[in-house]
């Protein structure tokens, strides 16, 4: 028996690498093969039922009698993955050809289901929890790289149907996308004993009563995508939406109904059926190593929209938002994460398109949307810092099963015409946990303690979360 113990004998004083998964790359043995050269005899494809053999082989860029080595075959495999998102698995293997030095390339593929049914749940940062009762995702074999998605959602404060399609943009290329939605939403706002009309901008009252107003929204959007070579995504497009706010609202507890005249004065102007049309621009650059538990990298989002009567709409307003996140790995799933986000709207922006602070993805430690008046904030700045640490680890290279976190959030919203003061900053600190479950995903909660008395009188508040807050 040949012992291979001598093979794994690092130089004296060196130790196995314990802190990173660093597999060996191309080896001198591979280079020798390259120098001598192996020739491709022919290619066999198995496992495909929708995509033709010729289409797959044509993408590879390989012909009979071409020289092959590991690097050439890996590049061909990468090309196939890139051009055929319909293929979920692509495996290459070879076998000896008819003569020495000739190889036969075997390509084994698994095609995704063209039609995929989904179910799930989610959390909207304005409208709360919802279920995706049934979702449908279609990637037709005749339109490679295009995906269609349809979702039927049911939630406490949002229900309806939405769909989207996207023809993916390759790096350095263009794509096309669009979406539609038909929603029934519940706009939440808080008021004092004398109903929401007692709200004042300083927010010194105790607003413990929650109110809901039903708003129906249906709209479409069409946009052009461009992905730069460094994977920054740009989109520019047109949208049109019809909004129908109800002219009454109810108290969440007790269901007492209030009429139009009892709305806060700032809301009354926006309570009418209206059509919003305009143009939108969005830039996203995401360099995070992973989206479910980012340990390094950053995320940057900048979006702006301009709505006018040019395309037949009723409203003239503009809105801009930005969101920057940074993640720094401290080793072994210990991560320091920071976020800075802000936004501003122009005059005449309908209240339901303004900003509402407070909640799981906003300033934690406060009830959802409770940090803004019923008419919304015309602008806001928010900052968060979070330290994430593993509590129960998982298998190698997987996020922890249970993660703890410590956070501090601060935000300030302002309304046009009101003086801005430092005392208007709302801040809270606290802790949270995230549990990663099979099939279900990552769920958790954050317990936040406000630094100052909250508008709703809560000494602390627990926000439920899907994934991390940012």
């Amino acid at each position: 028996m040949y012992s291979v113990a001598a093979m794994h004998s690092p130089a004296a004083g060196a130790a196995p690498d314990n802190n990173s998964f660093a597999a060996s790359s191309a080896t001198p043995a591979d280079e020798e093969m390259t120098h001598r050269g192996l020739e491709l005899e022919y290619i066999v494809v198995v496992g495909n039922s929708h995509i033709a053999d010729s289409a797959i082989i044509g993408t590879l860029g390989l012909d009979s009698h071409d020289t092959v080595n590991v690097a050439i075959l890996e590049e061909a495999r990468h090309r196939l993955f890139r051009d055929y998102p319909l293929l979920s698995v692509i495996e290459f293997s070879t076998r000896p050809g008819s003569r020495r030095g000739f190889v036969i390339l075997d390509i084994s593929v698994v095609e995704r289901h063209q039609v995929v049914f989904e179910t799930g749940y989610g959390l909207h940062d304005t409208y709360g929890w919802f279920l995706t009762l049934l979702g449908l995702r279609v990637e037709p074999a005749v339109a490679y790289g295009t995906e269609y998605r349809l979702g039927l959602r049911l939630g406490f404060h949002i229900s309806g149907l939405d769909g989207e399609f996207e023809r993916r943009a390759k790096p350095g290329g263009f794509g096309l996308g669009g979406n539609f939605h038909v929603y029934s939403q519940k706009q939440i706002f808080f008021g004092g004993e004398a109903a929401p009309t007692s709200w004042d901008a300083a927010g010194t009252g105790q607003y413990t009563r929650e109110f809901r107003q039903k708003i129906e929204r249906s709209g479409v959007e069409l946009h052009v995508l461009y992905m730069s070579r460094d994977s920054t995504r740009f989109s520019f497009g047109f949208h049109a939406e019809e909004v129908r706010p109800e002219s009454s609202y109810v108290e969440s507890e007790g269901d007492q109904e209030y009429g139009f005249d009892e709305f806060p004065a700032l809301l009354q102007a926006g309570i009418r059926k209206t059509t919003i049309t305009g143009l939108a621009f969005r830039v996203v650059r995401d360099t995070r190593d992973r989206s479910d538990y980012p340990r390094s990298g950053s995320f940057a989002l900048l979006q702006a929209q301009s709505n006018s009567t040019f395309f037949g709409g009723d409203e003239i307003f503009a809105k801009a938002e930005c969101d920057f996140r940074k993640h720094i790995s401290l080793g072994n799933w210990y991560v320091l994460s920071s976020r800075l986000t802000g936004g501003i709207v122009s005059k005449r922006t309908p209240y339901y398109d303004k900003f509402f602070l407070g909640g799981a993805y906003s300033v934690r430690g406060f009830r959802e949307l409770s940090l803004s008046p019923p008419s919304g904030s015309d602008g806001f700045i928010m900052a968060s810092d979070e330290f994430r640490f593993p509590l129960i680890t998982s298998m190698a290279d997987e996020p922890p099963r249970l993660t703890g976190l410590l956070f501090i959030d601060a935000g300030i919203g302002w309304e046009r015409g009101n003086a801005l003061e430092w005392s208007d900053i709302e801040a809270a600190a606290g802790y949270g946990i995230r549990l990663r479950l099979p099939w279900i995903g990552t769920l958790g909660f954050d317990v936040g303690v406000p630094f100052m008395e909250s508008r709703t009188g809560d000494k602390f508040y627990i926000n439920g979360c899907v994934g991390f807050s940012f």
Partner: protein
């Protein structure tokens, strides 16, 4: 109510059809770790690793054609309270020079050659004194066990992204980041539970050794010497 029942029934039928008809590849040999025996050698915890099933038809064909196959040994040490330390991967390339008619196993620092495929196979399936972790990086007074898995692939190493499984691919956020959700692929779920055939599996299940105390391992090493 009748319409809802009809929708539910139709959806169930479509789901079962979609899950059942997923195309899969033929069953292939699955690697297995038979045994990992720990010892102490020159300041390291070493392991004798006995495995089988590494050489499926695809792996054998790839190596004999002159292109390499890569064997990755994933391992980590764990403690009785569930903590993990010393995660690492050891990779070996299995090669064949068609012109010189020589097989070889290449580790990061050394290469060992063999005259026949059978001898190379025997060598990789019976690794001796594999250095796993430096002794001074562990707590001498605690118990540890090693957990190990093998992945063998033709042409390249293990695909890191695929190891995490498809569930983690389904976290979704909206384009403007206004909502966060988790979706469950019902087709995959049904395929997982009801599909008769499984896809090719080139990864072994995780082998778990017994817990050993380092001081007893070191004592055994001194007795042998």
């Amino acid at each position: 109510m009748i319409e809802i029942k009809a929708i539910v029934a139709l959806s169930t039928v479509l789901l079962l059809i979609g899950g059942w008809s997923r195309p899969v590849r033929a069953e292939d040999t699955r690697p297995t770790i038979e045994r990992v025996t720990l010892a102490v050698d020159q300041g390291y915890i070493t392991g004798d690793v006995a495995s089988s099933g590494l050489f499926s038809e695809r792996i054998t064909g790839t190596v004999k054609s002159g292109l390499p196959a890569v064997v990755d040994f994933f391992y980590y040490f764990s403690t009785p309270d569930g903590g993990t330390v010393s995660e690492n991967i050891l990779s070996f390339s299995l090669c064949y020079d068609v012109w010189e008619d020589i097989y070889s196993i290449k580790a990061p620092d050394t290469t060992q050659s063999y005259p026949t495929f059978a001898k190379m196979q025997q060598a990789i399936e019976n690794l001796h004194r594999l250095k796993l972790v430096a002794l001074d990086s562990l707590d001498y007074n605690r118990s540890y066990r090693v957990q190990m898995s093998i992945i063998i692939n033709p042409l390249r190493g293990a695909d890191r992204e695929k190891i995490a499984g498809w569930v983690s691919e389904n976290m979704r956020t909206s384009k403007d980041d206004s909502w966060h959700g988790q979706v469950l692929n019902l087709n995959e779920l049904i395929s997982h539970f009801f599909s008769r055939e499984r896809g090719v599996v080139n990864q072994s299940s995780w082998y778990k050794s017994d817990f050993v105390k380092l001081d007893s391992l070191c004592a055994s090493d001194k007795e042998e010497k």
